[in-house]
Symmetry: C3
Subunit: 247 residues, 3 copies
């Protein structure tokens, strides 16, 4: 059993953060809210989404897992204005999801969860450096790197107490530094890793420009990025595997 | 002889309502205004447009029929700001249309009316059900149906006193109900017909979101949609043939 | 040596006026500012740009010529908000341009100036007619001509004291007249020349709609168009060769 009412904006923000990485996903219906974990087909980018029951107008379930085509569900959610409410209800018999938006009723076929790629375990890394940064600064770094390269290096200079971004192209390069004045917070530690820019661009699409993003970094280690959605009643964690640096 | 002055907005609204169905049309120059009737090449969608002489700043004609390429004429009309006036004048000798917009003069070659598809007779149907609905509600129904199917069923539930829209796809479906509270008016009667969504999408493009659209419906009969343009000095009637329902 | 600080808006306006004609150009670093002259590969359209040292927040050079890929440099300049400052500095050793925008540093490889098409001499023509016209009126003329033709005739009727635009297509044509009331100034003289519309469309992209453009015209002669940028601290001159009129 699953029956919930949620604002269109909250549902869309939650789904968008997952759909930048995968087309289909499993949604775990937990007592205290929804949980989605997914990894892209190349095993490079992962997402862990939690949307607490408190993010919903009403939320009832006795548990279970459903499989959804994210683009289809986002299209239904797109029928509502941002502040309209969307009612979701699982039809146990037909294994379809009933969706209601002000007089509009839709039925969305679900996907057999067993046919969906297995959920990843997000490794519990103890990364030495942490920066808290505004979403818009990540966007600026990604845009700058994209001018010159397919890769982006993220690092922390423990001595200089600054976070930096490097991108080196065949002929041109860019370098961006954010000091403790530019950042919300910085926990220094030695960190520098190279990442595929495409993944970071996709993840950036789902990061609001005014979000406070906590970024954990190490030496040739994955980067973890964490931010809240739904006014704190939900959270998204991305993890992105590093590329081997070749000099 | 034909010489008229009309606001760019009025001319564009009138032309747009026809160009969603056909590329070329005949314009009948009547004493009391312009009239355009056209049917798409597949004989599925028809339009009947009347633009009264009172919709013009000035209007003079001694009758006749001219053939126009709608996209070309719309492009000329697009040179004017919405509130600018457009002067149209037929050159009888060259069979060209002279167009003037504040210092800009254009000459548009007309098309031999005999080379244009014959104008349809809009059948005088006595349809049992009628709803008066806002343009934006038609837009919403079309958008919802488009998520799941190429077809859309429009119907009236005489008992429940409601207008409904159904669209059934291979896996997903949508259903939209509008009660007498949501509608401007409803004359109940048994009605349900299936239509090609593409045609309704095209017609919807020309229906202003705040228009009051009178929709007449029957059982496996065409739908008629009627709305005013030019602040009541013009009117558009669409007729769309039903598709055979296959279950 | 070259080191300068300039607002993003000024730099972008200057570069845009050149990049509508060519992909690469030489920038002459003069004591009193930058100068760019370029001609398109077909030798039809030329641009002469001057950006005075007073257009910069600071400007230092001991002269020289650098070659740049305009799209690349514009992309870097696009990283700044309009009112942000961009610092440019030439690294003599690496022959690269260092670019700084609030914490963001970029390095742009320059192009060997000898590999770039030679700079044209803008002929010093004594053209008989001159009109001073708003940029938006040029835009309107170009848009109107583009509906019917690939060519555009610009002329001055010395008797009627008016500037006119003619475009003749296979079936349709347009004619636009601007009198001394519509123009900022007019120096009458016999003038009419035919131009390729594509070039004028490209040049028009770089002309602000509120610019006062001084246009010099003759009988089957090139047209010269001159306007200021950077609040008068810079200027752009376009010259466009006429096409042979065939009747």
């Amino acid at each position: 059993m699953f029956k919930a009412i949620v604002s269109a904006e909250t549902l869309r923000d939650a789904l968008d953060s997952v759909s930048v990485l995968v087309d289909e996903c499993k949604i775990r219906l937990e007592d205290d809210g929804l949980e989605i974990r997914a990894v892209d087909p190349a095993n490079v980018g992962m997402v862990d989404l939690e949307l607490s029951a408190s993010a919903f107008e009403s939320y009832e379930t006795d548990g279970g897992v459903i499989g959804v085509n994210l683009a289809r569900l986002e299209e239904f959610a797109g029928m509502a204005d941002s502040d309209q409410l969307i009612q979701l209800e699982l039809d146990e018999e037909t294994r379809k999801l009933h969706i209601q938006i002000e007089g509009l009723e839709g039925t969305l076929a679900l996907i057999d969860p067993d046919s969906i790629r297995q959920e990843p375990d997000l490794p519990d890394l103890d990364l030495p450096a942490e920066v808290v940064i505004e979403g818009r600064d990540i966007a600026r770094a990604v845009k700058a790197a994209d001018m010159v390269s397919d890769h982006i290096a993220l690092g922390v200079d423990a001595d200089g107490e600054l976070f930096y971004v490097d991108a080196e192209g065949d002929t041109d390069d860019v370098h961006l530094e954010l000091t403790t004045d530019d950042l919300i917070a910085l926990t220094p530690g030695d960190a520098r890793s190279l990442f595929s820019l495409d993944y970071l661009k996709d993840m950036n699409k789902a990061i609001p420009s005014d979000a406070e993003v906590t970024m954990e970094l190490g030496e040739e280690f994955p980067v973890k990025m964490h931010f809240d959605i739904a006014e704190g009643d939900g959270s998204v964690t991305y993890m992105l595997a590093p590329r081997i640096q070749s000099d």
